[in-house]
């Protein structure tokens, strides 16, 4: 099925994503930041659907919004936020941050505008119907070794998280 009203939904979702991003880095309360990040993640999942990537959109919702962000909220509740709310929120690097942001943003925009000819438009090679099957073919065929490395990485992460978060092992 063709996506409908693409322009409207793109600007809506993009606006929500950027709004969420701004809120993430400006909120005093860490829980509000986390909620703003969830807003960004969900609108990005919508954009992934428009990019013919329904499987990645599903993974984004189930893993990011349902898993990782719950972990974040859990940890924010464990570490007390009352004290950190009253403190200074930004460090003295704001000038550096602003400069880096302007430089990076300018670089990106410049490259994109200059290199516009590099991106052929409307050359859609993906079908939505068997997106999952296609990803599975790559994941367990061409990228099998990478897949195994990723599972090893997750194992290491589990052990590392337990070792670091536990008081006495």
């Amino acid at each position: 099925m063709q996506p409908v009203a693409t322009t409207f939904f793109f600007y809506l979702l993009a606006g929500l994503a950027v709004l969420g991003g701004v809120l993430v880095i400006t909120r005093r309360n860490a829980v509000h930041s986390a909620l703003a990040l969830i807003l960004t993640l969900l609108s990005l999942a919508g954009l992934y659907l428009m990019l013919y990537a329904p499987f990645v959109a599903g993974v984004q919702i189930i893993l990011y919004a349902g898993g990782i962000m719950v972990l974040f909220l859990f940890v924010i509740m464990l570490v007390s936020i009352e004290k950190s709310q009253k403190e200074e929120q930004f460090n003295k690097l704001w000038l550096v941050g602003l400069l880096a942001a302007i430089a990076l943003g300018g670089l990106f925009i410049g490259v994109y505008v200059k290199g516009k000819a590099l991106f052929p438009e409307a050359k859609v090679v993906l079908e939505e119907g068997n997106n999952t099957q296609g990803i599975a073919d790559y994941l367990y065929g061409h990228y099998l070794f990478t897949f195994e490395i990723a599972s090893l990485l997750l194992l290491v992460a589990i052990i590392g998280a337990v070792v670091m978060a536990k008081k006495r092992i």
């Binding site: 499987f55 959109a57 919702i61 919004a65 909220l73 859990f74 119907g129």
Partner: protein
């Protein structure tokens, strides 16, 4: 008959696939209204069944046999004062029930009530359902945190830990069912809810009986995990009233509290319909291959009408047993009217086009109803778990069992 109606009656795909926004909208309205009514009915049934488990009568006052009790409850909740604690985080407090409600209602977009009776069919159907229903944990955490009070916070912490851990066992059980869909000559499985039921139709068996007892164990793991996932007894630690007053919704009252309840029951129906779709053949009637043929089709298509006629008969027996005192005149008349409506529905369900159109919906709902009854039964039977026991069951029993079933299913799929 208008064109769009005949086109609808002849179509054999979901409105989402057919690309008709009008019918999709109608379906959304029907499904959401139906779920709300089902939640109210479930509310009455739960109180009534629990009461009979405990040799009580349950609601008897409002309407005959308390049939109007859910409506009275709804009016009470809607007119109640809506209290927001002064130290609460107002915005998050307001947002939390809405998130739970949206998360549990959005899942119904892909629930297949029949071959043509789903709002749409997504390529990633089951993944979408698991993902969106896992968002409700966010609502729970937000509600607990925003209340700015001890019991809700503890309830929310328990709840988030519990739901995240049981999601893993649930996901692995689902994967073993999805693996079974790939056992066809082309070797490609599917995640689409309708595709999963069609795979069961093609393989001529419900997945619960596939590679017995592997499918059965997977369903068992899922059935346990789904009770924990919806925070129901015996895994209702987040709202254990003896320890945490009411858990994460202690500070909620009135309309917002009723939104939590609506979301909880809608989520129960949603996970039950996942179990039915994956293992119990979705909308397929019992024995579609063993008892095949036109006469058997006819016999099974009579079931919905017969069920409603039976319910009407029960209502009329109830009319006969009402006390004869004039005080009960209105109640008796109400019960008789209810029976008459049920009987009328039963008669309508015998008319051929309705009969053929409705029977797959009937079988789906009947299977879901079994799971809903099981929920009530668990609540009446099992004592509540302790939190460390809960975690132990989730991580040390269900997870290894689900993983083992997945591996054995893969091996069996290669061998047979």
């Amino acid at each position: 008959m208008p064109d769009f109606l005949t086109a609808y009656l002849q179509s054999n795909v979901t409105p989402g696939e057919a690309g008709s926004a009008f019918w999709a909208l109608i379906y959304v309205l029907i499904v959401f209204a139906g779920i709300s009514v089902a939640v109210m009915a479930m509310n009455w049934l739960e109180r009534k069944a629990l009461a009979h488990f405990q040799i009580r009568l349950g609601p008897m006052r409002v309407g005959p046999h308390g049939l109007l009790q859910p409506i009275a409850d709804a009016i009470k909740l809607l007119t109640k004062e809506d209290i927001v604690p002064s130290a609460a985080d107002k915005f998050v407090f307001w947002l939390a029930p809405l998130i739970i409600l949206c998360a549990s209602f959005t899942t119904y977009i892909v629930v297949p009530f029949g071959r043509a009776h789903a709002i749409t069919d997504l390529n990633i159907g089951i993944l979408f359902m698991l993902g969106v229903s896992s968002l409700s944990v966010l609502g729970v955490v937000m509600a607990g945190w925003a209340s700015n009070s001890h019991y809700p916070l503890l309830g929310a912490l328990r709840s988030s830990a519990q739901m995240v851990s049981y999601e893993i066992a649930m996901g692995l059980a689902v994967v073993s069912a999805v693996l079974m869909t790939s056992l066809n000559p082309s070797g490609t499985g599917t995640l689409s809810m309708i595709g999963i039921v069609q795979a069961q139709e093609a393989q001529q068996t419900w997945f619960v009986f596939k590679f017995f007892p592997l499918g059965f164990i997977a369903l068992g793991v899922f059935a346990i995990a789904m009770v924990a996932e919806t925070n129901r007894a015996p895994f209702d630690l987040p709202e254990a009233e003896s320890e945490l007053t009411a858990g994460f919704h202690t500070e909620y009252s009135g309309l917002r509290w009723s939104l939590f309840m609506l979301g909880e029951y809608a989520a129960m129906i949603a996970v039950s319909s996942i179990a039915v779709t994956l293992w119990l053949g979705g909308w397929l009637r019992p024995f579609p291959h063993w008892l095949a043929g036109q006469s058997w089709d006819l016999v099974f298509s009579l079931f919905p009408g017969l069920l409603f006629l039976g319910l009407a008969a029960i209502a009329f027996v109830g009319v006969g047993r009402m006390p004869k005192h004039p005080y009960f005149k209105i109640q008796t008349a109400g019960l008789a009217g209810f029976g008459a409506v049920l009987g009328l529905i039963g008669v309508v369900l015998f008319i051929p086009p309705v009969r053929d159109r409705v029977q797959d919906i009937f079988w789906f709902i009947a299977k879901v109803a079994v799971f809903m009854y099981l929920y009530i039964w668990y609540r009446a039977t099992f004592p509540r778990y302790r939190f460390d026991q809960l975690m132990k069951v989730g991580w040390k029993v269900l997870l290894p069992v689900a993983l083992g079933v997945l591996l054995l299913t893969a091996v069996a799929g290669i061998l047979f």
